[in-house]
Amino acid sequence: MSRADIAAVITAHNEGDLAKVSMRSLQEAVAQARAAGLTVEVLAVLDNPDDETVAAFEDVPAGVRVERVSFADQGHVRNHAVSVTDSDYLAFLDGDDLWTENWLVDAFDVCGRDPGRVIAHPEVNWFFGHQHNLYFLADQDDPEFDPAFARIANPWDALCMAPRSAHADHPYADRAVADGYAYEDWHWNLETLVAGYRHLVAPQTIHFKRRRKKSQFMAARDAWVITRPSELLTYRWWSERDGRDDSSA
């Protein structure tokens, strides 16, 4: 079997029936992608799932592969998904979120601007549930975007479309809150920035992100944990970057 264009991966843990909603959203985006001529592999990875979540994936359509793992670590779950799929690009969806149905097609188009080097993000993260807000994500090519922002906060989350190499060469680090480290997705963004990937926005695409009372992000923020060391956090890397900019000016 030849390699698929995209692996659409949904990850779940304790979402219960909400995962059915997300699965339906994913299926609609997959249908749009296939209608556009793309080949799509669909994988669901359930990490230590509770019974309701297992039940939510019992009657998935034919062709959807369901895997159960026991990592208790979202980064490891994504790394595992990378290892068991065979596609040029991967797109992740959390088990209680939704995509607009154009996400896979439009993100794939954006990735095609520089094949293998572009990571596509939705234009908007639309939060619902416990929070109601809109977050328009940054496009790295926007001349007003200051990449130094990435030293202070995470500009993007992990629910992007990325070439396989971005995941294979830069697997997610361990989540280690007890050691003071978390924000694996932030760290992954730093590492891919250093490696030269371009984080671009796919216009008119939206991720609907369900905010429960306390998200993993909020728990990490309150715990005063930090992202793991990265070259991008060091002034030395920025000096060299300044030098590169000066010499190219």
Binding site: S25, E28, E101, H132, L134, D146, I152, G180, Y181, A223
Partner: protein
């Protein structure tokens, strides 16, 4: 005699005076000095600013208020059917105000009216915002307001120093503040972004998603909006951090010492000597307290001018950024509260990257205990 009569004229004059004073923001006005071609003292209080503006700044086209933007006023006055002649600011004070024309993109009247702001029934929301609301941190001024800043300056209302000043003065060197600012540009462009969600294709896509999960259409108390690169609470933090980095002659240190917030440097200088004796060639001093002094003869990251408008969490991030940026083998805080906080709060992780130590009032800090306290708090 004009149409007011002599009593009416006095009332009108008093009203104008009251209004000018209410909208005056000294820090914003003073930020335009030099660029706008006029000179001003380094600091002015509210009344001094009003006087200086009348005598000097107004003729130079300066804005005395961060919440009056001439172009916005001209556009909105026209929408309200008002013909503006002469100085737009004077026209607003005399005419536009009474027609309740909001002369800034930073304030959303409907949003403010829907929030519990304490405005009296029938009171013009913008006047309430000018008098009180703009000095309180919060989200009431509009959907973008959570990004205006979260730090109430000391005696903000007395000094007429609105929360949104942090964003107004971000990258001030790039803008002609007489006309616009980082924040006003950001909100205008953010509004365009928001309006782009009304595109028929996007509306249809959202409707399809809502057919799967109707809850996404629930707006709750109001849907606030952030967007990079302009409107995000940490944009100003990143600007401050980058200013610090660019101010330094080194990009790597063997040791970083947070110097005392106040008082003599003797203990900190002894620490520097100890570190040098132990082989640290490049030692960088970090100063953070408003009363601290940069030490002589040591490369110094002077964070003081960059921290003044940041809240506690933002200050911590800048102080952490300089530490991880310089990637030292050793970090020490000597009578420095912010530095101590960085090492205690993030000590678990930092101790895998460097040695950390602290002294406060001559005594060694038990950072192990402080880290443990933080760990227990986290677990709770």
């Amino acid at each position: 005699m004009g149409w007011f009569g002599s009593g009416g004229l006095r009332r009108a004059k008093r009203q104008r005076t009251d209004r000018v004073r209410m909208v005056t923001h000294p820090a914003f006005y003073l930020a335009q000095a030099g660029v706008a071609g006029f000179e001003a003292p380094e600091t002015l209080d509210v009344d001094g600013t009003v006087e200086h503006f009348a005598a000097v700044g107004q003729a130079a086209g300066a804005r005395v208020s961060a919440l009056f933007q001439p172009d916005c006023y001209l556009s909105r006055a026209q929408e309200a059917g008002l013909e503006v002649t002469g100085d737009p600011f004077e026209h607003w004070l005399e005419v536009g105000w009474d027609h309740r024309v909001v002369p800034t993109p930073l304030f959303d009247e409907q949003w403010y009216a829907a929030a519990d702001t304490g405005a009296r029934a029938g009171e013009w929301g913008f006047e309430h915002f000018l008098r009180e609301g703009c000095y309180r941190k919060g989200r009431d001024a509009g959907p973008f307001a959570p990004n205006y800043g979260d730090n109430e300056a000391m005696r903000a209302r007395e000094r007429h120093d609105p929360v949104l000043m942090t964003g107004m003065l971000n990258h001030a060197e790039r803008y002609d503040l007489r006309r616009t600012s980082w924040l006003e540009e950001g909100v205008a462009k953010g509004r365009e972004r928001l309006d782009s969600l009304d595109d028929p294709r996007v509306v249809a896509l959202v409707a399809k998603a809502a057919a799967i999960e109707p809850e996404i259409m629930d707006e709750g108390p109001g849907r606030w909006v952030a967007w990079l690169p302009h409107l995000h609470p940490n944009v100003v933090t990143a600007t401050a951090a980058e200013d610090v980095r660019r101010s330094l002659p080194v990009d790597r240190a063997d040791a970083v010492v947070y110097f005392p917030d106040d008082g003599p440097h003797d203990d900190a200088l002894r620490v520097v000597e100890e570190l040098r004796s132990a082989g640290a060639t490049t030692v960088v001093a970090v100063t953070t307290g408003p009363r601290s002094r940069p030490p002589e003869g040591i490369v110094t990251a002077d964070l003081r001018p960059r921290l003044t408008r940041l809240d506690r969490r933002q200050r911590l991030r800048v102080a952490l950024d300089v530490l991880r940026g310089l990637a030292p083998a050793h970090a020490v805080a000597v009578d420095n509260v912010l530095g101590t906080r960085v090492l205690a709060r993030h000590g678990r992780a930092l101790r895998t990257e460097m040695t950390v130590a602290g002294r406060l009032e001559g005594r060694a800090l038990d950072l192990d205990a402080m880290v443990e306290v933080q760990r227990v708090r986290d677990e709770q």
